[in-house]
């Protein structure tokens, strides 16, 4: 089901987004647009407002000003669950899995919205209900397989290794059937081998699920390699926007943040 965005308008658009916590200005009139199908990166030093931006998009934090448009429609002020059901799914920087539930159950929670059966049918365990149940479990299992977690399906999420927990978060987010996947530092805490697999995985997922990806990551070489376009945040302001090549050469970026890292990478 390849729903192209309305003619010309981007999938997600942020217009002059502001966010203040007391006196602290976490985001200052940030505007950007994410096009359907691209992998869009957000980079910037710690405290630049990247996660705050994710929280605004996913409805966890209220903006102090500005607009968020999803396929041209404003979504600011909607509850997080409504936003998720519109097709925006996210992962969390500080892993927020349902720790004592199994990996499979975590994914099944993600599939929640697709499992609607009448409560009575469920209570009675009708044949139709059980069939639907098996379908959902198979779907969840497939997602785990795709992320190489299938052998761990029955393990409790909290007992998985860090890298596996990161991938389980992605599997759970994918289960909600998103059009846009928001990844908050998916490489944090991964070992070098896992990090190098991550780019390939994200590309694979984009292709397989026809996804658009918005990603926050500190690992600059990975971002330069992976992203179609990048935005750079510094102290809540968007200081650069463009292709990795363009951003890499942007004097403001070099000044603020990238300098050393880019040289290191090249």
């Amino acid at each position: 089901m390849n729903q192209a965005p309305l003619s010309g308008s981007p999938l997600l658009e942020l217009q002059a987004l502001n966010c203040r916590f007391g006196g602290l200005r976490a985001l200052d009139r940030v505007s950007l647009a994410v096009k359907s199908g691209e992998i869009f990166g957000l980079i910037g030093p710690n405290g630049a407002g990247k996660t705050t931006l994710f929280n605004l998009i996913s409805g966890l934090t209220a903006a102090s000003g500005g607009r968020i448009l999803w396929r041209g429609q404003p979504i600011s002020g909607l509850r997080p669950d409504r936003i998720a059901r519109l097709g925006l799914a996210r992962t969390f920087q500080n892993l927020r899995l349902f720790a004592s539930m199994s990996a499979l159950e975590n994914v099944l929670v993600g599939l929640h919205g697709r499992g609607r059966t009448p409560l009575v049918a469920g209570l009675l365990g009708t044949a139709a209900f059980r069939r639907r149940q098996r379908e959902l479990e198979a779907q969840a299992f497939n997602l785990l397989e795709l992320l190489e977690l299938a052998p761990l399906a029955q393990q409790s999420a909290g007992s998985l290794s860090y890298g596996n927990q990161r991938r389980l978060e992605i599997a759970r987010a994918l289960a909600t059937g998103p059009r846009l996947l928001l990844l908050d530092e998916p490489a944090a805490g991964l070992n070098p081998a896992e990090k190098s697999e991550l780019s390939a995985l994200i590309r694979l997922l984009r292709q397989r699920f026809d996804l658009t990806v918005l990603i926050i990551e500190h690992h600059v070489p990975l971002m330069m390699d992976l992203c179609d376009r990048l935005a750079v945040l510094n102290f809540g302001e968007r200081i650069a926007l463009g292709t990795p090549e363009l951003v890499r050469r942007d004097p403001a970026v070099i000044e603020a943040y990238l300098g050393g890292a880019v040289e290191e990478a090249s």
Binding site: T51, F54, N55, L60, Q93, N94
Partner: protein, 310 residues
């Protein structure tokens, strides 16, 4: 007008009791993040201690029937010692019901239940020892002080003045202590962030004990004063106050000293203003207030909002 003044005085003095109660809860809550359900029992013990120390005799029921201390202390001294005794009991509660759970990093919900168990034990032990009858601390305990003074047309009982004065004193001392002293600052540090506080060399166990000790002392003093102003209506009489104190605490905002005072005064005044014909509904006032405030301001009047880190 005089009538209104009288109501104000009555309201403020019972508000002072609620505030003392809520301050005790709030101290423990701010260091541990849990409610101590044994607090009402500690308050009750404070009242009984005071009664015994001023030379009161145990009634005919209970294992200690007829017991009377061989000495009689003046009321202020008795009240102080009762506070110390209540503080000791409060420390005992901490050691039995809170510390084993804290050591294990258990769910705070569990401490709610274990402290309730401690409260049940204390109240029933008390009943076993002194019976279920009610006791009164005679106003003669105040010695040469008059029982009441006339103030702009209102009859103000001396014990009401005492309650208000002591509550005010406690608030001032407590605030100064929390803001100025090393101990108070350490306590606040533990409340803000126990892990960092430990890294800074603050012994958080010691701070928790301090919080329990001070809160027990406040409860004991409040108990003695209520025993004098109303009466000690049996071993269970602290529970009702304890519950209302809880409402006051949340009304003002958990963990906030001025909030506890504000909440106490609001509830005390509101209760005093309930017309006599509807006095049966008085006990619902605190909870109705609490309910309304929570729906409008989920963190109470002066509670600080917490920002969840994502």
């Amino acid at each position: 007008m005089d009538h209104l003044l009288q109501l104000l005085v009555n309201g403020l003095s019972s508000g002072a009791v609620y505030a003392l109660f809520a301050l005790g809860y709030t101290l423990v809550f701010s260091v541990l993040g849990v409610i101590n359900f044994a607090h009402g029992a500690v308050f009750t013990l404070g009242a009984y201690f005071t009664y015994l120390l001023i030379g009161g005799a145990v009634g005919a029921n209970g294992l200690l029937a007829g017991l009377q201390l061989p000495f009689t202390l003046p009321f202020p001294l008795a009240l102080l010692l009762a506070g110390v005794g209540a503080a000791a009991v409060s420390l005992l509660v901490e050691a039995a019901a809170f510390r084993p759970l804290r050591r294990r990093g258990a769910d705070p919900l569990l401490a709610l239940i274990s402290s309730l168990g401690a409260g049940v034990i204390l109240v029933n032990l008390l009943q076993l020892l002194v019976g279920a009858e009610s006791y009164a601390i005679p106003t003669s305990a105040l010695g040469t002080l008059p029982a009441a003074v006339s103030l702009g047309g209102a009859q103000v009982r001396t014990v009401q003045l005492l309650l208000m004065a002591i509550a005010a004193l406690v608030v001032v001392v407590l605030t100064l202590w929390l803001e100025r002293s090393r101990g108070g600052k350490a306590l606040q540090a533990v409340a803000e962030d126990p892990t960092t506080a430990r890294l800074l060399g603050i012994n958080s166990d010691r701070m928790v004990q301090l919080a329990f000790g001070v809160s027990g002392f406040l409860a004991g003093v409040a108990g003695g004063l209520v025993g004098l102003s109303v009466s000690i209506a049996g071993p269970y009489f602290g529970i009702g106050y304890g519950l209302k104190g809880l409402g006051v605490l949340v009304l003002g905002g958990l963990g906030s000293v001025p909030g506890a005072v504000l909440g106490g005064l609001i509830v005390g005044l509101a209760e005093a203003l309930v017309p006599a014909d509807y006095s049966g509904f008085k006990d619902a006032v605190a909870y109705a207030f609490l309910f309304a405030v929570l729906l409008l301001r989920p963190r109470g009047l002066l509670g600080r909002p917490t920002i969840t880190k994502v």
